[in-house]
Amino acid sequence: MDLYEHQARQLFEEHGIPVPRAEVADSPQQARGIARRLGGRAVVKAQVKTGGRGKAGGVRFAADPAAAELTARQILGMDIKGHRVRTVLLAEPVDIAEEFYVSYVLDRTAGGFLAIASAQGGMEIEEVAATRPQAVARIPVDRAEGVTSAKAGEIASAAGLPPQTVDVLVRLWQVLVREDALLVEVNPLVRTAQGRILALDGKVTVDDNARFRQARWGARDEEHQDPLEAAAAERGLTYVRLDGQVGVIGNGAGLVMSTLDVVAGCGARPANFLDIGGGASAQVMADGLSVILSDPAVKSVLVNVFGGITACDAVAEGIVAAVDTVRLTKPLVVRLDGNNAARGRAILGERAHPLVEQATTMDGAARRAAELAHTV
């Protein structure tokens, strides 16, 4: 889960990384009060979990508290790449002399962590990395040894950063480890005209798997803008809404992704990704189906299950339960193979709902569901 900038800033502050004074507002009036406390002038920054907010007009300077109120009014409620702005961060303005880039990130290839640092930080860091890779230092960090002052010195000197950044590099590593983060990034890390080092903006991605020992970020990401995604999340289902007409349910992320591809290959577009997971019960199947059937864009539904641990008879019972509770108005194509497939097929056969048909292969099922989506 990505954290908001203000949450990242709070973590930096707690771990002793210098940050500008700043407070969060969710109303224009509150923004005015904060600007007054900051001494009048403030940078008003949209809090959204996406990049490019500066270019979208989500970061603006306000010269006094009245301007801060007006600016906050304009930014709150804005839509930035599909993300609604619900809060703004007001930060004291800083005279920037130099901008640096520092981060620690999971390196999947190496199975470890990597320090990335550059003396040419700021908004154009990706372009710097692409066009002048020698300006970006990449140094593997042994997780067991961590980032000591000596290691931080090595990173700073490789990237051409001033010695005052060593302390920030050590503390940033502590944020990564103590918060179970997969990414901690400061961009820009600045040297001010007065010679101070400050983390002006930051990004932190925490590991969802670590929730059991990192309770502070809440049980779930609250960023579900889509009501169907929210409904699915409430039922503990892995659901992503797409823009097509064929609803898709399957078991296992790989098989569901593959099913979307096969549907697309049949000339239709999938309406969603929904993985009921391993060993799913009839209840989980019924829940998944009712989420998909409540999507008005869905014209037909494809259920593709290969039972490993998942028992196909339980899947079939879930389908029967769902079609008996929700009034089924859309055709359903079901392909069941693997664990207890014969029993599952028999259960569906006995129920003999006119809108439910079975297919013997994955490709055949996808073709039929695509056809039905076009004809309905």
């Binding site: 990505d2 999947r108 997780r143 670590a210 790989g254 992704m257 593959s258 591809d261 990704f273 292969t361």
Partner: protein, 293 residues
Amino acid sequence: MAIHLTKESKVLVQGMTGGQGMRHTRRMLAAGTNVVGGVNPRKAGQTVDFDGRAVPVFGSVADGIRSTGADVTVVFVPPAFAKAAVTEAADARIPLAVVITEGIPVHDTVAFTAYARRNGTRIIGPNCPGLITPGQSNAGIIPADIAKPGPIGLVSKSGTLTYQLMYELRDTGFSTCVGIGGDPVVGTSHIDCLAAFQDDPDTELVVLIGEIGGDAEERAAAYIHDHVTKPVVGYIAGFTAPEGRTMGHAGAIVSGSSGTARAKQEALEAAGVRVGRTPTETARLVLDALGAG
């Protein structure tokens, strides 16, 4: 022969006395796996009866190895205890640890895979279905009755796609199928398995299943180009999947444009790998390559 797992393998189960452990130990035994013991410090000295077969419980992996000569452990313990369990197995220098557990924090996986490597323990997983050598042994949760023994080696990130391809090719059969797991960090890569299949006389052809994210398939393609002389058939899932959560600047800097299904397919095809558009077409390409189509 097969890779990493044969009928000679002696298998311990960490977490055998839990619900998942009990259920899958029973299935592994039914598939012919030589399960020599479970590990649970609180139940050391007891035995667990599986349909008439008494399996002893040891207090530690080291005790289990001393008493039985075990060379494989399958880990079913919950995420919070997985790091300790794998560390214990690596301390006992067991050659292979198959980590089924889903939901292990990445920091723990980074720590225990590095530790295991230093101790000479191979990790398969985590968050994987394990591996099966049909007709010989099954270490994990792959259904044993899908396919018979045969000449195909299979390596995959995805459990259910493994089952789907095994089912499509059930009459031809498999030397070994390895589910390496879908987590960002895993102990055994596609490349490790390709190298083992290349050296395995029982394997004539390798099926490589990948999905979006990371660059494991691109690196596998480069490895195939340089080192694999056996035919390889590929399948990549995720062409229509939505763009996943981005890792922002740092992620983009590390992985560049790689990670898309298209990039992976192109890399594999450039290395001479035939890539199927669907699991069924992939199976057909395999049969063609084996001359049985």
